[in-house]
């Protein structure tokens, strides 16, 4: 008789965003007239930029011609894309990351989930609290945690690093010694950015204890402060301890196009094994490459036209962030993030529970956000709004929140 992976049974309820989607659908069904505004899930709303559309149409043409048709892509990704990324995302910032160290994929969510497979199940995992749920859930599913502790509201066996208001939402070095450390900056969900000296401390710490940092830089395009690092490889010694994840979802609007990449430096070795070799084997065995069309679209992101168009798109979203931040501050809320990241992390009024605040906003204002508790116990009392909405709807949403807030008060 076959057995199932019992680790799955430890998982709590549903994936956060599925739960929210169901609650919103139920509300819409009960209130068919309601014009719901979604600032919950971090999904983009602006159309693909002209340079990308042009590249896609061209690649479709190529796929229709026997001379230029492409079958299986190289599992690591086409060189035209890896060369471009190496040059423009890394060498241009002084990071010696070669095209061979880049692995093109269908997105950072897949890679963040898949990477843990190359490590032993005995490793101790450290995550920020609040945290993007994928880091936690994939480790639960792999058996690196104990059961969910209902009292504490998190999993036994994981090392949680609280990111609190008093610490500026930057985690402190944990008391227990971890083997794998997940960091995400600019941060989802708190919208906090990390400085280079702060990140260097983590790199030095990981090298000292032999840990590996899994660094999610999916939001680097939203950094406005020129002093902040876009890649962990801007820190000394990072190629000896860090794997970095990047996404095209937010800088180029590819949430429905699917493209990302992972950097595994050749220098990165543990127990005598090269992590590059393990990841190369993992991808070669379990992945068949990102679509040719999509890789050409990715290449267009780096052209002068693409850069210009996408810089305008990022500015559009960051103007939304400003509107949300200033609007909520004006209404008396305490608000973080939204300057070097597309997320606004607001405190709920008068210590209202975050799911309670979710229900309140949905019910009274028809506005959807994400309850902080969905990201971990330390997210309780906070609420995440995203800047990825349409401008007018974002303005309306903030206006509605201001109105209900003035009534509530």
């Amino acid at each position: 008789m076959v057995t199932v992976n019992k680790n799955y049974l430890k998982l709590q309820g549903n994936y956060l965003f599925s739960t929210i989607a169901k609650k919103v659908a139920a509300h819409q069904k009960e209130n068919p007239e309601a014009e719901i505004i979604r600032l919950g899930i971090g999904d983009v709303t602006q159309p693909l930029a002209p340079a990308i559309l042009k590249a896609l149409h061209k690649a479709v043409e190529e796929m229709g011609n026997v001379e230029t048709f492409r079958g299986y892509a190289p599992e690591q990704g086409y060189e035209f894309l890896r060369n471009t990324i190496s040059e423009q995302d890394y060498r241009a910032r002084g990071c010696e990351i070669s095209p061979e160290e880049l692995f093109i994929s269908d997105g950072a969510k897949s890679d963040c989930g898949n990477i843990q497979e190359i490590f032993g199940t005995d490793n101790r995992v450290a995550v920020c609290d609040p945290v993007y749920p994928v880091y936690v859930d994939t480790n639960v599913m792999a058996g690196r945690t104990g059961n969910f502790n209902q009292e504490r509201g998190n999993y036994d066996g994981l090392i949680y690093m609280p990111c609190t208001e008093s610490g500026g939402f930057i985690p402190e070095i944990p008391r227990e010694i971890p083997d794998l450390i997940y960091l995400c900056f600019p941060n989802n969900p708190t919208g906090t950015a990390i400085t280079k000296p702060q990140l260097q401390e983590w790199v030095d710490y990981a090298n000292r204890i032999g840990a590996v940092i899994l660094y999610d830089a999916a939001y680097e395009a939203y950094i406005s402060n020129p002093e902040l690092p876009h890649s962990i490889y801007e820190c000394d010694g990072a190629t000896e301890c860090a794997i970095e994840f990047r996404s095209f979802s937010k800088n180029a609007g590819f949430t429905g196009v699917r493209l990302g990449f992972t950097v595994v430096p050749k220098n990165l070795k543990r127990n005598g094994a090269g992590l590059w070799d393990l990841w190369e084997r993992r991808q070669g065995t379990r992945f068949n490459g990102a679509p040719y069309l999509v890789q050409r679209a990715g290449e267009a992101v780096y052209t002068p036209e693409g850069r210009q168009e996408l810089s305008a798109q990022v500015s559009y979203y960051m103007e939304n962030a400003r509107i949300i931040r200033e609007g909520l501050e004006g209404a008396g809320f305490t608000v973080y993030g939204g300057i070097d990241a597309p997320y606004i992390w607001m405190k709920t009024p008068e210590n209202m529970g975050s799911w309670e605040f979710f229900a309140y906003l949905l019910e009274k204002a028809n506005v959807v956000g994400t309850p902080g508790e969905g990201f971990g116990a330390c997210g309780e009392g906070y609420f995440r709004l995203t800047a990825f909405g349409d401008r007018e709807k974002t303005k309306q949403a903030i206006e509605r929140i201001r109105q209900i807030e003035s009534i509530r008060k």
Copy 2:
């Protein structure tokens, strides 16, 4: 100090097709003038059909317009595609598979590798020998096997089901009792199809012992005999014991476009857990949906134009199969497959080793095939050729093999 997944260290050499690619590249480098013909990897060569190109261009347009832009796809896939598949691939053949039971993905290779995650690592796995290496390697990586046994040429702890000439390349029920049974029909690499009564035996057996069959039907479009089953769900009781994988790679030329799906029936339960729920959770947590563009391309496969154009494409490849089969038979080779499958499984002449025959064909004829041993110990003495090449090159390849064979004799 972090530890790596030591199961990876049990893996033998490289992924088969990477090894072949390297050997071919080395031969090309030494012989820059050589016109190498590749009938090795199962990669298609015909361009995308006009109906698919049209759907792709239209979807690109939609992605460029704010009103029709699409962000994150539903993790299980768009309903427009799942409804079509349910109707045309299943209900039209009398199989009650609902759209809810379909999970759209980036391809069958990913799904075949990912599916094992929802099962315990204590399950005993049965695979055919020869076999598509992904089934074996992903289970090695997950820790469901012992070490590689150099003497036997396979892994300890796996149940190998020999598929031999005398058994018509159909496996027999194994003596040891398995929990997970991988079957692939029409078969890669042997090109053998299974009859409905033969498949029914496996379904009955799995239901009797509580095993789950992982059924790879990636090549169903190549079945020419109308009596043969295209889906395992044509067998009674299969929704209680089988998961099916399908691909758009070979019926629609999507090897570089990436689309597939997995069927997990709601009826399928083990240890009180619904496998549908586990897989839904797995995909929801670790996958972000197939690209909208690609799902629209998949939908076009089922339109009247798409069906007609792709039927012509399959016929083109099957004419190649006929040319290979008859050409080799005419040259005195013993040949199997190529009638209900795009693969030709030939015996090497005079018991030549399959890697030796690989080197011989590459060296003397500049033709690339796949050594049977690469698919398992029982593949020794066989060689796989694929029908996915260009017509003229396929003819040339067979002509070259006939010529060197007449010299060798």
